[in-house]
Symmetry: D2
Subunit: 341 residues, 4 copies
Amino acid sequence: MTVRVGILGATGYAALELIKILLRHPSAQVAVLTSRQEGRPHLADVHPILSGRLDRHLENAESVDFQAECDCVFSCLPHAASAKMVKPLLEAGLRVVDLSADYRLTDVAVYEQWYDTQHPDPERVGPTVYGLPEWFREKIPTASLVANPGCYPTSAILALAPLLKAGLVEPTGIIVDSKSGVSGAGRTPSPVTHFVECHESVMAYNVGKHRHTPEIDQVLSRVCEQSVQVVFTPHLIPMERGILTTAYGLATTDLDTAGLQAEFQRCYEDEPFVRVVDYPPATRFVKGTNYCDLAVHRVGDHVVVISCLDNLVKGAAGAAVQNMNLMFGGDETAGLVERSE
Amino acid sequence: MTVRVGILGATGYAALELIKILLRHPSAQVAVLTSRQEGRPHLADVHPILSGRLDRHLENAESVDFQAECDCVFSCLPHAASAKMVKPLLEAGLRVVDLSADYRLTDVAVYEQWYDTQHPDPERVGPTVYGLPEWFREKIPTASLVANPGCYPTSAILALAPLLKAGLVEPTGIIVDSKSGVSGAGRTPSPVTHFVECHESVMAYNVGKHRHTPEIDQVLSRVCEQSVQVVFTPHLIPMERGILTTAYGLATTDLDTAGLQAEFQRCYEDEPFVRVVDYPPATRFVKGTNYCDLAVHRVGDHVVVISCLDNLVKGAAGAAVQNMNLMFGGDETAGLVERSE
Amino acid sequence: MTVRVGILGATGYAALELIKILLRHPSAQVAVLTSRQEGRPHLADVHPILSGRLDRHLENAESVDFQAECDCVFSCLPHAASAKMVKPLLEAGLRVVDLSADYRLTDVAVYEQWYDTQHPDPERVGPTVYGLPEWFREKIPTASLVANPGCYPTSAILALAPLLKAGLVEPTGIIVDSKSGVSGAGRTPSPVTHFVECHESVMAYNVGKHRHTPEIDQVLSRVCEQSVQVVFTPHLIPMERGILTTAYGLATTDLDTAGLQAEFQRCYEDEPFVRVVDYPPATRFVKGTNYCDLAVHRVGDHVVVISCLDNLVKGAAGAAVQNMNLMFGGDETAGLVERSE
Amino acid sequence: MTVRVGILGATGYAALELIKILLRHPSAQVAVLTSRQEGRPHLADVHPILSGRLDRHLENAESVDFQAECDCVFSCLPHAASAKMVKPLLEAGLRVVDLSADYRLTDVAVYEQWYDTQHPDPERVGPTVYGLPEWFREKIPTASLVANPGCYPTSAILALAPLLKAGLVEPTGIIVDSKSGVSGAGRTPSPVTHFVECHESVMAYNVGKHRHTPEIDQVLSRVCEQSVQVVFTPHLIPMERGILTTAYGLATTDLDTAGLQAEFQRCYEDEPFVRVVDYPPATRFVKGTNYCDLAVHRVGDHVVVISCLDNLVKGAAGAAVQNMNLMFGGDETAGLVERSE
């Protein structure tokens, strides 16, 4: 069976990555692409790298009969715009993976405070499944709506959840210091993402104020059944893609580096997309893949975890396809890894 | 049928790309990897991006029974070292795609002059098939040895051959100005490829002396059945991969840009990996793909062709797999493009 | 005596470079800065790198009494806007270095065709001094208006003028293939200069249509007293600053590389900012300096010249200060080189 | 009076920066340069950017009469090699700024443990002045030997000392997460600094084991007269130069961001090279300057300080000249800032 896929907001970088993955997918098909651009531009004009690879136009969403044409819709729209579009699709019986932040938080008030807007579909906030299979796999197959995790939260949660779950670090005083490539800022030109401004430079931004903070707090709190509030600092790095997160927690254990590594290996041993490594992970070793590489260290009375992923794959499009695979009963890794034999 | 593949010299960047392509290939299998490193290192230690994706050790070539284990051998060894290894494999009946320069030139004397070494297998120089399917496809299926083209020559020949073949430019006075990413220089650290030295810098190198010059001359001469001697200048660009070649020839035609474009489209209309485009091609639009994008312009009394490809794919590993596909009777595009429907 | 300097359009990259040079200049002072931004922003808010180094606000040009406050005005405004502002300043007796293209061409019709706008001050087009001291030094000291050369033309003219002047290459069929960093595209964000779009990519742009083409043609024609029409192709390189130009001409001489080098050395031996080198020049060796490095090669029947400069210094702000130094009777190198003893 | 300067180990990046600063310095002169290279290479062959700017050869140190030729010697030699050379120079009465790590630590045992070598001049370890003027200015003018601080320690200490000194954060549990450009790794090519390996990638290295850790601990402990042990994680960023350090401490104060900022402004108000800023600092805003930019934030119960400097200037050569200026009684800022009026 082939899953017919629609993508809302197909002009951005996550959507491009999604299309590239779906082109390799053995049982999915790109059925519909939409954008708010006028005149039905051809996909190849919007993403020249796809010239000759997929013959599609970008449609206006209003003119599409999603029920007839799609089994699964991915929304790559900005927050608020996304929920507004997703709501009627769900009501029409479609299954949706939402890559925006709209359904990730469990509390409408927290959403409205951090995102500074009214939520267009508040009733679905809370019960929606958080699509991080490593921690919430069992809920995904039956979900009609999955909230695809944020890129920073994925890197932070995969790094910290094993420690918090096992009580190996204090739930307070956790530091999450993340370094991201510029594609995370999207495709719209701005002074901050102007080549000359961000090349040969590194900066911190939104210190203490980044919208992914409550998402990290909420999911970690759920995992360890205690209140967790991290200090989160994102940084902009002069590279296209990749996130490296360095997470620090105060140890409550005597385990040394080898012992902690064994814990991580045990925790993630069945996960197809988490690699616990004993060398220094680098974003280039996960580039273009759906892997999250993790290295854990004991440093004095702290535990330091390094986490690397590709923000457009495991941090967005790859995770979305992983969720779709689980929702539609296929191989969880379809389109995301190659046969090794 | 599955083609069992051996790769000689598996530690470099072209070999890594080859392995990544073969992992996606529906009817090939990585059977044997060799390197001159001691101690049978695991593939994942040499190429961490492949961790968990292929469980192989790098063997010493002497200890491998290629006849028993492989149908096709790719040599990623340096020139001279390559022919030395390839010669006995051919004699043992194996089929080989040689990514080195050893069998590309048709004249041993020219080889020995430009490469400043004695050729280890001079008898095969000359008759060996030059593996550029766009111009020599018919000879590849029956070849036991295919010389995989150089990265610069591929970009230059695909740009200029249609013009020379059709007599649209003079065969003299042709300028080939190429810009290459740093991966073309290989994986061995050197002052020239030290990050601080080549980042934020562009330089020309080997002006008038680059070893790909006779290869370009020879193939273009063969295509247009006249002597062609280009002026070739390669440049090092601060990026990982990609070659953009700007080729200039004196027009012998009145065709304008649109007319030339139509010629190119006609010439390459059946080619799966050449895209004639009417927008400014950029190396990012071919990155990670086996495409060569071409744009042709009339500028005064000259024709200017821009050619873009990924030096590690269409300029090396992708072309090698395309050759293997032709040699073993499969779909020429297997492993190299995705289904678009 | 101190030259009091005004800068029109102080928000851009060339203006920033100008200010940095003037801060080191022993006999110049930044008196006035203007911009079209509202609210008199502080210089440090517009260029944070200058925090604590120069306490100035950006004024609206209308509110400034240039006659009272300045001896010399640099215009960093866009073309057309520049001439409109410069015209009344000249009429008021001020001396001006115009970094825009407005006064570089000698023919209003050519200007209006290539720049697609009416010239606001057509009477000064033609007689205005072209501020390239290496070729027109004697005219600069007495000029009230100097047209500061374009960045690409400076790199091309310094490379080719010695050959054309001495009749060492044919005046026809000259190829100018230039590679520029992204700062040449200015500070305004756009899709082309968005980090993700131009990082890890190289592209040609405005093939056969770049506005610096007639400027190169005109100055080279003047130098060799024959009509010269070059084929000019600019390329965008993923670096902040620097231009490397590779220029090709058909030799009319038997001189080999060493002989050509001797010619270049003779031609430029008294020039403080031209270095004729015998190693491969790279833009990093001129970065932040006012030097243009030149290497000349004989390749078959062609002469190939490589030329490197910093587009914001020798290609803009440094050249402008060099012109100011000549206009105001100081040391031509003031502010631009350090004492070496 | 002119200070005649000798530089030991003039081939590296810090030495190049030192020479560039000294060329602009009004009262210093580069008298002698040494290297271990054979054959007295010309400076311009080692550093082509200096062609035509300084006519010097690199001498073998053994052949130089430092007493006759120099007033001040900068050592840019590797650790251990440095102290071995510096010791006899001091005994001969020369004044030295040592850019290596040899005299920074106060305890020979700690040095020998972290640097895994015997100290060649253990008697000077301990009493040697730590050349960070912002915290130890009064001791520098009379010192015959000054230990120039490490690049990471400068960024960390300037960020944290005001907080620890004033008791605004706990001395325990401090996190120092630093991001450095590749020039910090020196000029010797290696796999880690090979362009293709570090471009488009970020990695942590020497987690919990970097040799700058005891230097940070020691100086911060001295400043706040309590034992401080930070968790320090350095990261390699794909840029040439710049360090951004993000430091985290548990607040013992109720001060909010504005209050903390006022504290920092008060602390550093007379410092010529520290800028307390209220916008997001970026390494590009300090590039090529001797400034350290600091921004302080209150985030929950933590204080977060961002610190930016140029690792080759304030983190090495600029600081060294600042120390020399203090030692020789000149203006502390000579050669390091421009007059702003």
